[in-house]
């Protein structure tokens, strides 16, 4: 699955498109991590637990997006956008959406 956040896939031609696909996830860290993050707030620095959380969320959201695109028969998703929301307190909510397309090599005919 080719994922880009520009409107095309460079070096390839889009031959079909299937509309939008989305992936979303809401994830929380356990309370111990939250407490540690609270302590870390006193001295500053990277919150490793939360970095990890966001990374996992992003990966899962992208995996869901790719899965949806695959079901549509697409082989690429272009113009991907990430967004966040904050419904749940202390949880990371990520969603990602893009346009599912089929691409072929610029020269060849699939």
């Amino acid at each position: 699955m080719i994922l880009t956040n520009i409107e095309t896939v460079p070096g390839k031609t889009i031959v079909e498109h299937y509309g939008i696909v989305q992936g979303s996830t809401v994830r929380a860290k356990h309370i111990g991590r939250d407490l540690m993050a609270g302590l870390k707030n006193l001295v500053g620095g990277e919150l490793k637990g939360y970095t990890e959380l966001l990374q996992d969320s992003r990966e899962q959201a992208l995996a869901r997006l790719s899965e949806q695109a695959r079901e549509l028969g697409a082989n690429a998703v272009v113009n991907i956008r990430f967004a966040t929301s904050s419904v749940a307190q202390g949880a990371a909510e990520l969603f990602v959406y893009g346009t599912a397309v089929t691409v072929v090599d610029e020269m060849g005919e699939q």
Binding site: I14, V15, E16, H17, Y18, G19, V21, Q22, G23, S24, T25, I31, R64, E67, Q68, E71, L72, G73, V101
Partner: protein, 276 residues
């Protein structure tokens, strides 16, 4: 320049963004986990308090006295304090009990109970005074509570109660209905000792009573009366204490083996009669 990209209309599996776990299964797993987690924290706190408590100086404990007493309230009662003072005079010089400042409070409550609070405060419920017939019986109750102080049982109860309060306010926040519910039952938790601790306090109380009054009269009357009144349905006192019959048997055995004499009991002070 370029022809329009054709659109293929296809529908997808739309459940990709929603996990397939059943919400009720999730609830039960998590509630179960929570119970286990709380149980572990509670037991761990209990063990830690047991270890720490014996090393806490009485001075530190006295700093806590106000906090614990605020939960109960009640008024300092002169007649009760006099009985307690007489008992205290008979306690051996080297006893840790002398580090405490023993104060007895009377609280309006129908429960037949008395509690030992940190720092040396004893709270006697009016429900208990209403059941007592003589000064000796009341002295036995106070001596029993002093036994808890001497063995420092009261701190163990408090430590566990505090542990529970901490868990609940961590989980649900300090002003949720769940923490109200628990702090309500905290009162009974604080007064809840093991049966061994109660039996030890009974023995201590009996010895102190005999040292103070010269005889064991009145030591078991109170329990006998309660046992007769409530042959099967056990009131509050017995929920946290051993069965009165067991207590009576244990006390009788000690009276026999030590050869404690039994004499006439002293009638209750008029100030305490008014409480009834």
């Amino acid at each position: 320049m370029q022809s329009k990209i054709p659109f293929i209309a296809r529908s997808t599996d739309d459940t990709v963004n929603v996990s397939r776990t059943h919400p009720l299964a999730e609830l039960f797993w998590m509630l179960g986990g929570l119970v286990v987690l709380c149980g572990i924290i509670f037991i761990a706190l209990g063990i830690i308090t047991d270890l720490v408590v014996a090393r806490v100086p009485v001075k530190v404990e006295r700093a806590l006295r106000g906090i614990a007493l605020d939960q109960y309230g009640g008024e300092r009662h002169p007649a009760l304090n006099e009985i307690a003072g007489n008992l205290l005079a008979q306690v051996p010089r080297d006893s840790p009990l002398h580090d405490y400042e023993i104060n007895v409070y009377l609280m309006e409550n129908e429960e037949i109970n008395a509690v030992a609070l940190p720092g040396g405060n004893i709270v006697v419920f009016t429900g208990l005074v209403a059941q007592v017939e003589s000064e000796n019986e009341l002295a036995m109750v106070l001596a029993h509570e002093m036994g808890h102080f001497s063995h420092r049982d009261h701190l163990r109860g408090l430590g566990r109660g505090l542990g529970l309060a901490v868990i609940v306010s961590l989980l649900f926040g300090p002003d949720s209905s769940a923490s109200d519910l628990v702090s309500g039952s905290l009162l009974s938790f604080q007064a809840h000792y093991s049966q061994d601790q109660e039996a030890d306090a009974d023995r201590y109380g009996l010895d102190l009573l005999v040292r103070s009054y010269g005889h064991a009269g009145g030591s078991i009357d109170f329990f006998e009366r309660l046992a007769a009144q409530h042959p099967d349905r056990l009131p509050y006192l017995f929920a946290s204490h051993p069965h009165p019959d067991a207590r009576i048997a244990a006390l009788k055995e000690r009276i026999d083996s030590y050869g404690y004499p039994s004499q006439e009991t002293i009638p209750l002070d008029s100030a305490l009669y008014d409480v009834r």
